[in-house]
Symmetry: C2
Subunit: 303 residues, 2 copies
C-alpha cells in the first residue's frame, strides 16, 4: 500500500537528486530514506531512480510517478491548509517569497502591522529572484510570493498590490541634479548603473529606457540596490530607483531623487500563488495589508 510517506520522500528525492539531502529535507536519516524509496520501487515494480556516484537520476518511468506524487503531496498540503484556514485568517505557518528589490524595503513597512494584526501568523521568509520564486510556488515550497508583474503562468493567480514608480537617482553634485522632471530618453546608457543580469528590475529599467541591448551599458551590474545607490552617490552614474526604496526611508544627502515626466516608468508589484491553493483568503488579507502599508508610507516619499 502506497503511503504519503513514500510519496513525500520520493518528491524530496526528485528535488534534491541526493538521498542524503532528501532525507534531511524530510527530517530523517539517509537509511530511512533509502528504505522507503526501495520499498516504493518494490511495490510499484518499477526502478524509480538510477543510483549513481554523483547526482542520482530519476528514470523516465519514474518521472511520471514523481509528477503525480508531487500533485498528491500538494493536494494533501492543501487539505491541511484548508483546515488551518478555518481557524481564522492568517494563522499558522506561511511561506512567503519576495524578490530582492522589494524585500528589504517593503518588509520594514509591513512587518510591524502584520505582527500586530495577526500575532498567530508564523511567516517564513525567502528572498530570491522571480524565476526561483515561480518554481518554488509551483512546487509548493512557498505559499505565496511578492514580485513584479507580469507573471503569465496560467497555474498561478495574482493580485496587484501597488504601482511602484521609478525615480531617477542622481549624485547631488551632478549638474543635472537641479533640473526638473527627468526624461528616460535623455539618460546616457554608459552612465546607467543597474543590477546584474537576472534581476527583473534590470529588465524593467532597460525596457523603460528603450535600451534593447545592454551593449554599451556601464560596467558590471551589482547584486543589491544598496550597492548601486552607493555607486551613484560616489558619482559613477545614475540609476532608476523604485519609489518603494524612498518610502522605506531611504535618504542620502549625496543623492537626489527626481521623478520622471508622466507617463513615469513604473513596475506593478503583486502577490502570486498557486490558483489551486485553498488559502486565497489568507493571501487577499495579506494583499490588503500590504497595500494599506504602502499607502501609509506615502508621506515618507522623497520629493
Amino acid at each position: 500500500m502506497v503511503t504519503m510517506r513514500h510519496l513525500r520522500y520520493l518528491v524530496a528525492l526528485a528535488e534534491t537528486r541526493h538521498f542524503g539531502r532528501a532525507a534531511e529535507l524530510c527530517h530523517v536519516t539517509q537509511p530511512a530514506m533509502s528504505a522507503q524509496i526501495r520499498e516504493l520501487e518494490e511495490m510499484l515494480g518499477i526502478d524509480l531512480v538510477e543510483r549513481r556516484r554523483g547526482a542520482i537520476a530519476i528514470t523516465s518511468e519514474g518521472e511520471e510517478i514523481v509528477r503525480r506524487a508531487a500533485a498528491v503531496v500538494a493536494s494533501v498540503r492543501d487539505i491541511e491548509d484548508l483546515a488551518r484556514q478555518r481557524q481564522g485568517v492568517l494563522v499558522g505557518p506561511l511561506a512567503l517569497g519576495i524578490i530582492p528589490t522589494v524585500a528589504p524595503y517593503l518588509l520594514p513597512l509591513c512587518l510591524a502591522t502584520l505582527r500586530a494584526r495577526h500575532p498567530r501568523l508564523e511567516p517564513r521568509l525567502r528572498e530570491t529572484r522571480t524565476t526561483s520564486l515561480l518554481a518554488e510556488l509551483a512546487a509548493g515550497r512557498i505559499d505565496v510570493a511578492i514580485l513584479a508583474l507580469p507573471v503569465d503562468r496560467p497555474e498561478l493567480e495574482t493580485l496587484a498590490l501597488f504601482t511602484d514608480r521609478f525615480l531617477l537617482a542622481t549624485a547631488a553634485d551632478d549638474p543635472d541634479a537641479a533640473a526638473g522632471p527627468a526624461d528616460a530618453a535623455t539618460i546616457r546608457p554608459e552612465r546607467l548603473l543597474l543590477l546584474e543580469d537576472g534581476h527583473c528590475l534590470r529588465e524593467q529599467a532597460l525596457a523603460h529606457c528603450r535600451l534593447a541591448s545592454a551593449a554599451n551599458l556601464a560596467t558590471l551590474g551589482a547584486t543589491s540596490l544598496t550597492t548601486v545607490l552607493q555607486m551613484v552617490a560616489a558619482g559613477y552614474g545614475v540609476t532608476l530607483m523604485p519609489e518603494l526604496v524612498a518610502r522605506a526611508g531611504f535618504d542620502d544627502p549625496r543623492i537626489v531623487l527626481r521623478p520622471f515626466r508622466e507617463p513615469a516608468p513604473a513596475r506593478e508589484i503583486a502577490l502570486a500563488w498557486r490558483a489551486a491553493s485553498p488559502r486565497r483568503k489568507d493571501f487577499q488579507a495579506l494583499g490588503r495589508l500590504v497595500t494599506e502599508c504602502w499607502k501609509a508610507a506615502d508621506g515618507r516619499a522623497a520629493a
Copy 2:
C-alpha cells in the same frame, strides 16, 4: 501529519456514513476506524462528522475535505495503476461494471477469449444499472464500465464498442409472427412488455417506439430480460430484444425474432472510464477484444 490511511478511512466513512461498515470496507475493526477519524479531526482542528444514532452525517466543512480526500485517494490509486500497467497490458486487478441487459449476454461471448489472451488479468465484475455504474466510476470503485451511450459526463471518456440493434420478440403463435420486417410504429403500447423503471433499455425502447409516456403500457416491468422473454413466450405481449441476446445463443422455439425496418432501433454499447485514469491502454485493449468477440458471434445471430 495527514496520512493516506486517514484519507482512505475518511472517504470510506463518507461513502458508508457508518463507522462499522466503513471499517469493514477498509478491512479493519470499528475502533481502528474511530481512532483514525478522531485523530484526523484532531489534526485538522475540524469536526468532520456528526456522530448520531442512525446514519452519521459529514459536516459542511467536512464535505470539502472529503471531496479533496477522495481526489487524493483516486490519484494515488492511479499511481499504482500506472505502475501495474507498465508490467504489460491487462495485467492485475480490473474492476469492471456492466449493465444488467448486457452482462449475462456479452460475458459468455468474451470471457473465454479474455482469459486465454490475458491470463494474468484478475477481473472483478459488478452488475448494476447505469446510474450506479457512473457513480462508482467517479468514485473509483470500478475502473471501467460497459454501458449504453450517451454518457454525457465530461469527466468520463468513452469508447464505442458495437451497435446493438433491437429485434422484435413475438410469440411464435402470434398471427404477426410470420409478417416481414417489424415497424416500431405499429406496436400496440398495451402489448409492449418492458423492464422495470430505471433500466436504460426501457427508456431506449420507449424512445424508439415514440411512446413518451408510460401511461398505457402493459402491466408491471420485470427485473430481468429473461423474465420478459418468458412472458413473451407465454403470449403476454411483445418486447424489443437486443440482438446481443441472440448472438449470445438465445433460441426459444416459442419466440420469433423479427428485425425492424431500417433505420432499425438500436443502442450503442460502449466502454466508459474516468478520463484521468492512467489505464487507457488497458481499456482500449479490452474494447478491441470485446468488439472482436461481438463480430465473431455474428453467425449465431437469429435470422
